[in-house]
Symmetry: C2
Subunit: 431 residues, 2 copies
């Protein structure tokens, strides 16, 4: 006999619709494989008059969240409203009422994960959030189950589809950021207000969750050094390409001693690296474990059905435990007790593009200052001269051996004091 698992869903936006649709498509397969009959019985819909473009029986809708949070028949609450509040309050209430919670909400988990995880444990229920990081890619499940046999050394993620789409299009068609953003918005790959994506905030939320799971330490999104892609120009992309690199918005963290260094920044990735071939709206997570070595997971990080796949995967996982009354472990486990400490931006190779006057001796001045700051140069490229404000200038591109970013910034400040240096156009990490 099949066990019926009743699910209440908060929100019926894109991910809500994707989750509902994925369950409609695969209900039978799930039932045959697991013996579980999963039913979405109630859906919080603040605006029931709005046409959602999906055929859902009207009697499932409610405008009152308490009809879900307090319904004794509901086993699992799926939170798909997004944003920190009121989502966190609703999840906390569901957990306190003895319901397991599945969410796709990276902002709420990054901000309040520890609190919600404790509540789940106190109430002997489960909290899962696979969909919060890299959409359909099962990275959280993997690092907390099959890969638990590893100490991890590093993680690098392309965790935001909007920015990866923009950078790929800039790279393929030589177009500028503003032009591609407009096109992405028209195609639905970027939101009307793209700030959270293009400024790296979305990726920082996801990296914060990954750092807790992989390194067992706390790195709140606002302490992760974060730089978006708005300063990346088509010139940077062209120069990087010539030197054998692709530019990707990387969310990275790596362990060194008892410190974890990490940031979200546009970075130059060698074309031979598997992350360099991750294009358009696709996401990927590259990790290195001390036993498994290099691994990469590639897939769709957003979109209704891929994200719905992850939400529904979590619902099944929770339901399998509920079915056997064995709600003992919280997978994935947010951990902050490993003894490692998050220490922000570490030592990296850097790419620097600047514009200088086309005069003899300029290169000598710059390299002398870099030398004084202990910064060695791997590559210098001088590009074609052009006119700027009545003066002939040339672009200079440097790839520099590892240094601390603050040291590099100090050196560049000194360099800028010389009139022959017109501007520092961009600084990016090199992987």
């Amino acid at each position: 006999m099949r066990k019926i698992i009743k699910v209440g869903m908060l929100g019926i936006g894109n991910i809500g619709k994707g989750t509902y649709q994925a369950l409609e498509m695969n209900h039978q397969k799930i039932a045959e494989t697991t013996g579980l009959d999963i039913e979405i019985v109630k859906i919080l819909n603040r605006n029931p008059a709005k046409d959602r473009g999906i055929d859902i029986p009207k009697e499932k809708y409610t405008t009152d969240v308490n009809e879900i949070l307090s319904d004794p028949d509901i086993d699992i609450v799926v939170e798909l409203i997004g944003g920190i509040e009121p989502a966190t309050t609703y999840m906390a209430q569901a957990l306190s009422n003895g319901k397991s919670v599945v969410t796709a909400n990276k902002a709420a988990i990054a901000a309040n994960g520890p609190k919600l995880a404790s509540l789940a444990q106190e109430n002997h229920v489960l909290l899962r959030f696979e969909a919060a990081v890299a959409g359909g890619i099962p990275i959280l499940t993997s690092v907390t189950t099959a890969l638990l046999s590893n100490e991890f050394n590093e993680v690098h993620g392309i965790l935001n589809g909007t920015t990866n789409y923009i950078l790929t299009q800039m790279s393929e068609y030589g177009k500028d950021y503003a032009e591609v953003l407009k096109d992405a918005q028209a195609k639905g790959f970027a939101e009307a207000d793209p700030t959270a994506d293009v400024e790296g905030i979305d990726a920082a939320n996801k990296l914060s969750i990954l750092i807790s799971l992989i390194f067992g330490t706390s790195a709140a999104p606002d302490v992760i050094p974060t730089q978006g892609i708005t300063a990346v120009s088509s010139e940077d992309i062209a120069f990087a390409s010539e030197a054998g690199y692709r530019i990707k918005l990387l969310a990275s963290a790596l362990k060194s001693g008892d410190k974890v260094y990490g940031n979200v920044e546009p970075a130059l990735v060698p074309v031979s690296h598997p992350l360099a071939s991750v294009n358009n709206e696709f996401n990927a997570v590259f990790i290195n474990g001390n036993a498994v070595d290099d691994l990469m997971f590639y897939g769709r990080g957003a979109g209704p059905l891929p994200t719905g796949s992850a939400v529904l995967g979590d619902v099944i996982g929770v339901a399998r435990k509920l079915e056997k009354d064995s709600a003992y472990d919280i997978v994935p486990q947010l951990r902050y007790d490993s003894g490692l400490e998050f220490a922000g931006e570490g030592t990296n190779k850097y790419y620097v593009r600047m514009t200088v006057a086309d005069q003899p001796g300029v290169l000598g001045k710059i390299t002398t200052v870099l030398g004084e700051y202990g910064i060695s140069i791997e590559v210098i490229q001088q590009k074609y001269p052009h006119e700027l404000d009545g003066e002939i200038v040339v672009p200079l591109i440097f790839i520099l051996f590892p240094t601390e970013k603050s040291n590099l910034e100090n050196a560049l400040e000194r360099i800028m004091q010389d009139d022959v240096v017109k501007s520092i156009e961009n600084i990016m990490r090199v992987e």
Copy 2:
């Protein structure tokens, strides 16, 4: 208080050593994360005098398998002998004695998986084999947990590191198969007897397991059409490269209606496909699910530590269940009851390379026959003429639109009846 989980290991070859070493490296992290104290207490070592190059206390070794299979203190038996027998007998005995089993043995699971899975269920213990497919890549765990919310449409794997290394080296250095094989053997990437790898047998075993997990149907290795890489020449690789393809040994299966088509064959993969960039000894599994869409997992498919990572991941998974006395589900679940039927090689695009006399009208004759068999041509390339047995001949390369392989073979047989066609050099699938 930590729960002690006692493990007996059968075999101390490369994977055994890797598993032992991975546990030594990560014992503390595993204990901190899971509360489990996992100990390898006994190891079957047929030849204790042999120096294994690893520091293991001698008292752990035994030459008598029953000291492990019948030890009431041992919770989990890890089988790392390889080959179908005596491994299957040992695993069956362990399961019958109420011990859970973890194995890396693709041949034994492909041959006897259903029997062993039933035995596990009868005895309320667990059977896991993540390491049997794609080494350290957590593909089996993923498709049976986080991705269980999908019906799968297709799977394509680069599942054998030896052949991928050989094909990559042939491609990068323009060398011939025999030369690269010798080099791979010298470097330890290929065995002295490479038959199981280069003939595709190893990949067919792994594909058989994947088909059961992904499509819930049976495809014994010996019913999977299997072709190795020994007939791939440096000419094929060069011609494929010109046309925008890489040649990979692909283990593929796809669902169409109530049939599953599958095979192991060298195939032309477009350079833009993520599988095309999987090089040297790396493995990858590309899958498509009806909700999650395209996903790819990339990592090390062999090697002591990466395989040990997967073995140990399974041990932890089993131990977490034992700890809570909740040995209820068998993950991954071998299934044969989905109603889908394995139907061998399906309809594919094909690459054909042949040598023909350099005479007028030859191309016309060949294309006429192909037309009679309903086979359309996507690409024809005629290469430079050269002398063969005193006659001037030219290589002809075709890329053909989808057809059944048997139909193509019939057409080529008819074409070969004409004296102007000297030989069919190679036929490969095009993805």
